[in-house]
Amino acid sequence: MHITASGMEETDNKIALEKAYELYSGTILRFIFFKVSDYAAAEDITAQAFVKLWQKMSRGEEIRNERALLYTIARGLVVDHYRKSQNKNMSLDQIPESMLPSGENLQEIAETKYQSEHILQAMSKLRDEDRDALNMYYIDELSIPEISAILNKSENATRVVIHRALKKLREYV
């Protein structure tokens, strides 16, 4: 989606933000939760990310790719969160019930929970950049150009990051 926020009226910004929220809030919240392993903190950071997006829109900054920008903002906010909490090695304790899929029976839910926690624990041992690359590519289905913009790398380098991250993850699973 290409939005030129320059000269936008406040109402236009609100509409654009609402649209971005509808499209990306779920995946951004999940992305952040996988990084901080704290649902309340993930909600707070998600809210901050959308406020920052709105601030950029209000300033009339050109936003070429809202989704990529949101991920970039989110990653920066998570760094701030780590700094404030003085804890850079948070571990995943439990996936909150609210994140688990509805419409499955209890056994399926328990299985999903177990498998998810297992893979997330393994992923938490990866470097931030590697874990983010895997999250964005395989879970949130961002394109390589989008991920390379977020990681500030070339597309080839991004592919290498993903490939190496997978290889590393195999050692931890």
């Binding site: 933000l17 609402e18 929220y21 809030s25 779920g26 995946t27 919240l29 999940r30 996988f34 909600e43 998600t46 809210a47 901050q48 959308f50 406020v51 920052k52 709105w54 601030q55 300033r59 970039t72 903002i73 990653r75 920066g76 906010l77 760094v79 701030d80 700094r83 850079k88 996936i95 609210s98 994140m99 688990l100 899929p101 509805s102 999903t112 498998q115 998810s116 297992h118 893979i119 997330l120 992923m123 470097r127 931030d128 950049e129 895997l134 395989y138 879970i139 500030n152 997978l166 290889k167 993850l169 195999r170 699973v173």
Partner: protein
Amino acid sequence: MNEEEIIEQIKKLKKLGPKQPELSLLKKEVFARIEAAKKEKPQQSPYFIYWPFSHLILSGAIAALLLFALSAAFYEPLNTQVRYSVNQIRIMAAGNQYRKAELALNFAEGEFERFSKNPSRVGSGELEKATAITNEELGKLNLTGEAGKYTTEECKKLYLKFDTMLHELADLAKKENAQAFLRQIEEYEKIADQKLNMY
């Protein structure tokens, strides 16, 4: 587990996610924060709330310090104290976090240069203090920048500069066998690298 199976496991995480009612509640929170941000007045430094009075005090304090610095110019320990105090005041009075971080870094670089000429004093605590202050002030930067104050790119440049200085400092500390300082530098380097990785 082979690569394909791992990818499958990762993809299964797509099943997890917040429910719509929670997202709706969060949306209200987002818009409430936006409304609050709109009403928020531009933040003023507490040092300048009562401008004329504070201004006089600050000017007086700086003048006194300058006089003190001049008289102490030839007495090294006092000279050092004065330089650090003046630097602290300058950092405190700086208008935004980027400026504070920049002042701290410039000061640390100056100290590094001084100590490079007299390396036997590395480990005496002064250079450590200047580096710690720089690390602290840089740590308070908002990496994505702040509207009208500083940009992401400026933050990145500052971190790169700090990172370069740390590498050189580490060499100096190694040469002088200042182990405690070296450990401290390595810690700062780790933090700086993590921040730079975020760009």
